[in-house]
């Protein structure tokens, strides 16, 4: 188990990160990649649903909602807060 940060570790609105990779090759992983979550992409947090899950992100100029279980599949390098 790697303990490197994932998208689910971005806890504050406005946090951003660079995607390193999407773990796995099942339907969820493929869908995430098809939606443009590929390595090297910038992604940032727009907001959280009432119980903190799902989460709204901005990527490639559009907005996407991911459950935190799905966000955990995406390994990222968090960008320093500006």
């Amino acid at each position: 188990m790697s303990h490197s940060p994932t998208l689910a570790d971005l806890k504050t609105v406005g946090d951003s990160a660079t995607i390193l990779e999407v773990n796995g090759e099942d339907g969820i992983a493929v869908r995430l990649m098809e939606m443009g979550l590929t390595d090297g992409e910038e992604i940032s947090v727009i907001g959280f649903a009432p119980l903190g899950d799902p989460i709204e992100f901005a990527i490639r100029g559009y907005r996407i909602s991911l459950r935190s279980s799905e966000a955990q599949r995406v390994r990222v390098a968090p960008n320093p807060r500006s």
């Binding site: 090759e25 869908r31 990649m33």
Partner: protein, 741 residues
């Protein structure tokens, strides 16, 4: 295999087949309607739940058949449903020819992600027309696209439209013609050579196995989609060795630096980035907060967001529950008017009864649902078109995952509390087939408005007016509330069990696009409402009508109705001779006789005979044959129970749930031995039965339509009726034990 070449034809031109495809939320159906003038033939593709929508138009004397494919982000099919688009595009769908061209519609504000699907379509070797839709919104957002440069780079014709305003639609028609007559374009080879070598090798291997005609596109998909539908189908045909061959090929590819499935998205998005470089200019950075984001701050906020959602749901619920009421009453009034007219023109007899009680009542029972369907779809269309629908699913997702569903199931289920028909139709927003099926199957358990009259009648007549805490908690209200919630309570374990058994599988991703908010387009909203209303009336309606006429016949035949008709004739005569609104003792007497005769007739009808034959089954629920007949006659539409009870208990069919006379008649009804028929346990068992039973032909037929299978309405009917019977049985037996205990 190239289809048409550019040889000019002198004969009447052959119909061109054109497929329309695009991401969800790109305005695809609006464009489809704009191109075809809204006239579409709608059906299902065989064996799947995917809707097949065909439309026609003529351009320059050239007929074009337009095939609307489901909105999708990718052609990497993971299920039979998703495979339909690929099969149509490859010309492998039996009743549709290979398309002469593909129209790929994109959201102009979001080219980067939208072009992913385009890059896959390019691999098909078909001429493609790109339509950049919502061009006006992109311009407003300050997005500038250098069209000539993009055309050059992508090597394809591009048209810009704002389909919701019908702008650019003419240009699309002309461009379709031009594109379809183009020579076929060679696919762009985006992947490293090693990949295409493997595709080639797989082709040779398949040939060795006797499959000579495997399309290159499917071989590519089989290699790229791990556990995908292409792999699955190959394995069905060739067995495990196909998967072994694929596995070996994938290992070699990984060694050569193209690891599947990673390689596809990487290669395609890199290509897209290169194509868009210096072609798309944005006035603000893509990460910057937009107006839409600021609205989201409020609408997805844990307090303001939930409050807004709750208020909105309350309004929608009120609308389909209360506002639809006058419209439904109006439909019923018109039905009454027409019946009255027929009764004046046609003398009492079998023909009159068939027209009034069979046909007009049958048509009425279809049309009476229209107000609710139209109202619900007005809200749904507005919510979808302005972008709020995705937020509603976003807010409710966590809650719905508790029963194994997703946020997208919330609205269809909530709507079903008013009426399951629009609720089941609303499940189309759920992309995942298993989630959608489970939602459809539990939707009829929600307590719809047609169940209310039964509860009102039973509660008012048989539940004592007890209250506690100074009138705040009232027994009658409590029972009513319990009955209204019962179905939903049962739905929780049913949904859970269905998800654990027949519909088990990997949790579908809730990877959902949250489109930018925009003002809804009236035309778009209207189109959608019209679509749904028509689908209901035309395709469910005809069958509901047949069922209604059949039940009428069962309640009418085989007895001789001559005596009754003579009486009815006399009554009509006297009524017309008396001044409006007055009565005479003779008239009262005759009406009394008529009601007694119709009660006797229904007892002797096939329906009555059936009720008496199966009375032992109902005995266990504490019912006599009369209640049984009422329940059986209510299978086409539960709300007829009141009228049937009225007829059977000799009050005539013209009664209402709140009718004091009906209530007192039921209170006075006895078993042959003189003991009261209706006790509290009997009343409760009737209510529980109606709460759980699938007594609605319209819902079952809509399920048949939406699932494209007879098996699912049969399943729904069976499980609900079983639950209803067992529930009523337990209620009566336990209730009686307590009363006697």
């Amino acid at each position: 295999m190239p289809s048409s070449t550019s040889v000019p034809v002198a004969d009447p031109p052959r119909v061109l087949t054109v497929a329309l495809i695009g991401n969800p939320n790109t305005g695809k159906s609006t464009l489809f309607n704009a191109l075809t003038g809204g006239k579409a033939r709608v059906g299902n593709f065989p064996g799947v739940t995917v809707e097949k929508k065909l439309g026609k138009f003529q351009e320059d004397g050239q007929p074009v058949l337009l095939v609307d494919l489901p909105g999708t982000y990718s052609l990497a099919a993971r299920s039979a449903d998703e495979m339909v688009s690929v099969e149509v595009l490859l010309g492998r769908q039996a009743d549709i020819g290979r398309p002469d061209a593909v129209v790929c519609i994109l959201d102009a504000s979001n080219l980067e992600r939208n072009l992913y699907l385009f890059s896959q379509i390019r691999d098909l070797g078909l001429p493609v027309l790109l339509v950049l839709n919502m061009w006006d919104l992109a311009e407003q957002a300050g997005i500038k696209i250098d069209l000539p440069a993009l055309r050059e780079r992508l090597g394809t014709e591009i048209v810009t439209t704002s389909a919701h305003r019908r702008e650019g639609v003419e240009a699309v028609r002309a461009a379709i013609l031009k594109t379809a007559k183009q020579a076929v374009v060679a696919p762009i080879r985006l992947f490293p050579p090693a990949f295409y070598e493997e595709v080639q090798q797989l082709g040779s291997w398949l040939e060795g196995e006797g499959i000579k005609d495997s399309p290159e596109f499917l071989r590519e998909r089989a290699l790229l989609d791990v556990h995908g539908e292409a792999e699955h189908r190959g394995a069905l045909r060739l067995g495990e060795k196909f998967q072994t061959v694929l596995g070996e090929a994938r290992t070699r590819l990984a060694a050569a630096g193209c690891k599947v499935p990673l390689v596809e998205t990487k290669v395609r998005y890199d290509w897209i980035r290169r194509q868009l470089q210096d072609v798309v200019h944005r006035s603000q950075s893509v990460q910057q907060e937009t107006t839409s984001d600021r609205i989201d701050r409020w609408l997805t906020h844990w307090f303001t967001g939930l409050l807004f959602f709750a208020v909105l749901m309350f309004v929608i619920f009120q609308a389909i529950y209360t506002w639809a009421e006058p419209l439904m009453t109006f439909v019923e009034a018109v039905q009454g008017q027409i019946s009255g007219l027929v009764q004046e023109v046609v003398p009492p007899g079998t023909l009159q009864s068939l027209l009034v009680d069979g046909i007009i009542a049958g048509v009425g029972s279809v049309l009476v649902f229209l107000p609710q369907i139209v109202l619900l779809f007005t809200f749904i269309s507005i919510m979808e078109d302005c972008g709020y629908m995705a937020r509603a699913a976003f807010l409710m997702d966590k809650l719905m995952t508790k029963v194994g569903l997703s946020g997208k199931s919330f609205l269809p289920l909530m709507s079903s509390f008013a009426c399951a028909i629009p609720g089941v139709m609303a499940t189309r927003v759920i992309e995942n087939r298993r989630d959608r099926m489970v939602t459809i199957l539990v939707a009829p358990l929600m307590s719809c408005s047609a169940r209310l009259p039964v509860y009102v009648l039973m509660v008012a007549a048989f539940i004592p007016k007890t209250n506690w805490t100074g009138g705040v908690i009232e027994l009658q209200g409590l029972v009513l509330f319990f009955m209204q919630s019962l179905g939903a309570l049962i739905a929780i374990p049913v949904a859970w069990i269905l998800k654990k058994t027949y519909f088990k599988g990997e949790t579908p991703p809730f990877v959902m696009e949250l489109p930018a908010y925009k003002w809804p387009s009236l035309r778009m909203v209207f189109d959608r409402i019209y679509d749904r209303a028509k689908a209901f009336v035309v395709r469910a309606g005809s069958l509901i009508f047949v069922v209604s006429v059949l039940i009428w016949a069962a309640g009418y035949f085989p007895e001789d109705h001559t005596g009754q008709h003579q009486l009815q004739g006399k009554i009509a005569q006297i009524e017309s001779s008396l001044p409006e609104g007055t009565t005479s003792s003779e008239l009262d007497e005759l009406q009394e006789q008529e009601r007694a005769i119709s009660a006797a007739l229904i007892r002797q009808s096939y329906l009555g005979q059936m009720g008496q034959a199966v009375e032992p089954v109902f005995r266990l629920l504490g019912w006599d044959w009369r209640i049984g007949v009422g329940a059986i006659a209510s299978f086409p539409a539960r709300e007829v129970i009141i009228a049937t009870m009225g007829t059977i208990f000799s009050l005539g069919g013209d009664v209402e749930a709140k009718d004091a006379q009906l209530q007192s008649t039921l209170q006075a009804a006895t078993w042959p031995d003189g003991t009261p028929l209706f006790t509290i346990p009997v009343a409760l068992s009737i209510m529980v039965f109606f709460a759980l039973c699938a007594q609605c032909a319209a819902t079952l037929l809509v399920i048949r339509r939406e699932t494209n299978s007879w098996w699912w309405p049969v399943f729904t009917f069976t499980y609900m009726t079983t639950f209803a019977y067992l529930g009523a049985l337990l209620t009566y037996q336990i209730g009686t034990a307590i009363m006697n205990g």
